[in-house]
Symmetry: C2
C-alpha cells in the first residue's frame, strides 16, 4: 500500500519530465534540410515583401519571396554579393480561380516553403548559400536538395545566385 | 554697395524659407483620392503580406496585398468587420516573362497602388471603407473612384467588402 503512494507521484514526475522534453524538442526542433542544415526561420511570415511570381504548368503556383532585414537592405542598396545573415523565404501556393472575380486567381493550398541562408564560410562550396525546401514544415529529401545550387549556379550566378529581383 | 551686402543674405534667407516650405509640402503632401480623401500610407512597403493574386487579361498583372498591424491582426483572428484603423494596400505590376526561367513570370513595371482605409464613421456610406487608387503616386479621377464601393459591395459584402483572403 505504501509503495503505491510513492509510485504514483514518482510516475507523475516522470511523465511531466517526458512531456517537458518533448515540448522542448518541438520548440527547438524546426527540422533542418539535408546537406545544408537550413531550417524555416521563426517569424518569417512578417518579413518584408521582395516580389511575387507565378509558376506556370506543371507547378501552377503563385509565389512570394520575403526577406529578412539584412536581405532587404542589400536589395535596396543593390549590394552584391548579399551579406552574411541574409535570409530569403519563398512561399508557394497552388494558383486557383477566385470565386469572387472571373479574371482573378488567388492562393489555394500552400505547397512549399523554400529558404536560402547566406553564410559565406559555412556554405563556401555552394556560392555562400545554404538551401532548404519544406513541405508542411518537413524538409524534402537529399536528392531534391542536390538540385538547388546547380540550378541557381547555372542561371543566376551573376546575381549572387539569387533569382528574385526586388519588385519596383 | 551697402545695399548689396544686405540684399544677398536677405535673398538667401528668402530662398531657404521657400525651400523649407516646399519640403514640408512634399512631406505632408501624399495626394488624396477624390471622394474619400485616402492617401498612400507612409512605409506601407514594409507591411506584412496578406496574399498575392494574379489578374488575367486585359490586366495581365501580378498583385500583392499588404496590411498594417491592425488589419493583419483582424485577418489572423478572423475578426469581421475589420476594426477602424485597418489599412490594406494592393500593389500591382505588369506580369512579364522571367528572363531566367521559362515557366516563371515576374513583376514588370508597377501599375497601380490601391488603398482601403477602415473608418466606420467617416466612411459610413461606403461600408466603413475609404478607397484610393493611385498611378505613380497620383490619384485616379473621381469617375474611377465611383466604381470602387459598388463592386466591393456587389461581390464581397459578406466579408466586410474585402476581396483578399489571408494566404494560408
Amino acid at each position: 500500500m505504501r509503495t503505491r503512494w510513492v509510485a504514483i507521484p514518482v510516475a507523475l514526475i516522470v511523465f511531466w519530465l517526458i512531456a517537458l522534453t518533448a515540448a522542448d524538442d518541438a520548440k527547438a526542433g524546426n527540422p533542418a534540410s539535408p546537406i545544408y542544415g537550413v531550417t524555416v526561420p521563426d517569424g518569417y511570415r512578417s518579413w518584408e515583401l521582395i516580389a511575387p511570381a507565378r509558376e506556370a504548368a506543371p507547378f501552377d503556383e503563385l509565389r512570394v519571396v520575403l526577406g529578412n532585414d539584412i536581405a532587404v537592405r542589400a536589395y535596396r542598396n543593390g549590394t552584391l554579393p548579399f551579406p552574411d545573415g541574409s535570409v530569403l523565404v519563398k512561399l508557394a501556393w497552388k494558383e486557383v480561380q477566385s470565386p469572387d472575380f472571373a479574371s482573378a486567381s488567388i492562393p489555394g493550398a500552400a505547397t512549399t516553403v523554400q529558404v536560402m541562408v547566406k553564410d559565406s564560410k559555412k556554405y563556401a562550396s555552394s556560392g555562400g548559400w545554404g538551401f532548404g525546401r519544406f513541405i508542411d514544415g518537413v524538409p524534402a529529401d537529399e536528392v531534391q536538395h542536390r538540385t538547388c545550387f546547380a540550378c541557381h549556379e547555372a542561371r543566376v550566378k551573376n546575381r549572387d545566385y539569387v533569382f528574385t529581383r526586388l519588385a519596383p
